[in-house]
Amino acid sequence: MMKRDGTSYLYFLPLALFIALIYLYPFASAVSLSLHDVNYLEPGRHRFVGLGNFLRLLGDPLFVPATEHSVVFTVGSVVFEYLVGLSSALVLNSPFVGLKNVSKALVLLPWAVPIAINSLIWQFMLSPDFGFIDQFLSLIGFRSLSEATWLTNLSLVMPTVIAVNVWRSFPFYTIVLTAGLATIPRELYEAAEVDGAARFSRFWHVTLPGIRRVSAVIVTFHVIWTFTNFDVIYLLTDGGPLHASEVLPTVLYHQAFVQFDMGYASSIGVFLLGVLSLTAGPLYSRLNR
């Protein structure tokens, strides 16, 4: 048996230093900033304010709507991404679908396109009057729907950005769930069939439990990624109109790069981290039970 001595830990040192440099230092720096009043417009202003920035966040008129929108955006996106991803994975897993690799590659396309390009394409497609969506709706006889201003209507904007986010993200679910489906032993389906289980019953009692663990991982990750997602909403609406699609990451961005209020912006980042630390872990445990 190999003798355990202190030198073996030395081999971990470069990796530990690397992680400290790229992860722990920025993290500690952000936490420190969140406890200070720092505005880049005033280089001399750097004073400790304790929890002042967090108290200011709680009193910010945008805090409640932006938090609500963040929750709606996250829940709406993850639920529909999972449903669309699972449906497409089941279709791809079906023996009746040929050219599986080509089909998988096609499904992956929305996910493979860079987010910025994806969002800009959707912005043009959703443009009122000359955008593809409105033109198409008009062509198939939905003239009243074709006059919808998807990204500037206060009621439509959030469902629209969720839909774009779902379209962009569902292929990742499809691929991961397809891999998960492939690990379910065929014997389980055969045994269920012998026992007289109907198609839905086989899905409910064999398929879903079979992909539970992989689902728990992917849903947890996507809750984290979506709650902190900035690019889709920023590129499509920048949180507008009238803050109707404002989420916490866009508030953070505006505070940091429009107001240059880095201390306050960091407190929003730390708040996001706190929320996710308190929710993502329990969520994973619950889903993976």
């Binding site: 417009l41 912005q123 009122p128 920048d238 949180g239 507008g240 109109p241």
Partner: protein, 429 residues
């Protein structure tokens, strides 16, 4: 003894040889340039790439590293790098960024180098003002372009409309140009278009032209304090104009709420709107558009006094540049008369007053004449950190367009927000 002397001489010669090699192989000076001029896109990008290559050929000891990004990225990168006490040698900026960057202490004071430059007097004082804060100069004003009324002359001729001079004329013209071409009860063409997105860059500039033309300004100094230089009534009249065109005249596309230039300019190009406020860079689009020959320019209609936005772009030097002298030499060469005219191309107008004497100057009444004619009415954005306050213009415009505020409420709200911003972020320093 002889042996020691021989060793010493040999060592000495070797050191001399190494020193000589070191001198010969002195590394060239690398100048980093951050700007937006992409040589793969139409416009000034190719011209810049050509001039950068020419400069390196003329100065073999200089290597230029050209980093191209969008204006948004450029601003963020400059701010973040500045906080880390880093930055490029040459930094391209919008004029309104200069006060912010000066306050962040990331720009080099170039006052001495600029005032001793033989070409200093070739730039109008108004352009140096944009590049200056507190009497110190922080860069070269490389372009000076105004905003004008861009209109479809073919549609004006079709409806027998004269080019509008005042807001009243503009409203009347826009109303006449709004038409249901297919006679199906749906309007197809609209008279006018504005930017109104929350994050619009051009929207606040359009708003500024309207506010200035009421005879107001954004800010002024009063007893050592910065205060609004407009009244709530003047701001109200601007919001009233937008509201009247949208809800009374119906001469703005209802779907235009939330437009930025990416939606507005194509709408003008496709004929959905017949008028807009725009800049000289549209000449490039006019050349590509099938109806581009019908695009004409005129001074922008005014309320009380003619006014326009004098957009000056500035190239400065980072305070953290280790080659400030070489960076200034590059700027002086790039913005010598003929080079500046060549670089301005079709994107913007050169800021030098001797531009027309350059052999590279090509007269153009539509894309240069109107713009030069309106320089005298040009206003710059406030030379204090004002970027965050400009966002209020569009916030309140959206309140009006979504009917959450009346124009009077929006005007008062805008006044209150600007007052509050000046007190909390400018006057307390």
């Amino acid at each position: 003894m002889m042996r020691k002397i021989a060793v010493a001489v040999t060592l000495g010669l070797a050191l001399l040889a190494l020193y000589g090699c070191g001198k010969q192989a002195a590394a060239p000076v690398k100048l980093t340039v951050w700007d937006v001029f992409d040589p793969t896109t139409p416009g000034g990008g190719k011209a810049y790439a050509e001039k950068y290559a020419e400069y390196q050929k003329l100065n073999p000891g200089i290597v230029l590293e050209h980093d191209i990004m969008t204006y948004d990225q450029l601003k963020q990168k400059a701010i973040v790098a500045g906080q880390a006490q880093q930055g490029p040698d040459v930094l391209h900026m919008l004029g309104e960024w200069v006060p912010d960057f000066v306050k962040m202490d990331i720009l080099a004071d170039l006052s001495d180098q600029m005032k001793s430059w033989a070409d200093f007097d070739k730039f109008p004082p108004s352009t140096w003002n944009v590049a200056s804060v507190g009497g110190k100069i922080y860069g070269v004003p490389i372009t000076a372009s105004t905003r004008v009324l861009l209109y479809r002359s073919d549609l004006f001729a079709k409806y027998g409309i004269q080019v509008p001079e005042t807001w009243t004329d503009m409203r009347a013209a826009a109303k006449q140009l709004t038409d249901d071409l297919h006679r199906d009860g749906n309007t197809d063409d609209y008279g006018m278009g504005w930017c109104s997105a929350t994050s619009a860059i051009r929207g606040p500039q359009e708003f500024a032209v309207l506010l200035w033309s009421t005879g107001a300004d954004f800010v002024k100094q009063d007893g050592g304090k910065w205060v609004p230089a407009f009244t709530a009534d003047q701001a109200t009249s601007v919001y009233q104009l937008y509201a009247d065109m949208m809800f009374v005249d119906h001469s703005l596309p209802p779907s235009s709420i939330g437009w930025e230039w990416q939606q507005l300019d194509p709408a003008f190009q496709t004929g959905e709107v017949a008028m807009e406020q725009n800049g000289a860079w549209m000449s490039g689009r006019a050349q590509q558009a099938p109806n581009g020959k019908d695009w004409k320019t005129a001074p922008f209609p005014y309320d009380k006094v003619p006014a326009t936005y004098l957009e000056v772009k500035v190239d400065g030097v980072s305070k953290f540049s280790t080659h400030q002298a070489q960076a200034v030499d590059l700027l002086k060469w790039l913005f010598s008369r003929d080079n500046m005219v060549f670089l301005a191309g079709t994107d913007n107008l050169p800021s030098r007053i001797d531009s027309e004497q350059s052999s590279a100057w090509v007269p153009d009444p539509v894309w240069k004449g109107t713009f030069l004619h309106t320089v005298k009415d040009g206003h710059a954005m406030p030379q204090i950190p004002f970027g965050p306050a400009l966002k209020f213009t569009m916030d309140d415009l959206q309140e009006v367009f979504y009917k959450r505020m009346t124009p009077a409420q929006a005007g008062q709200d805008f006044y209150n927000k600007v007052s509050s911003y000046l007190d909390s972020s400018v006057n307390n320093q």
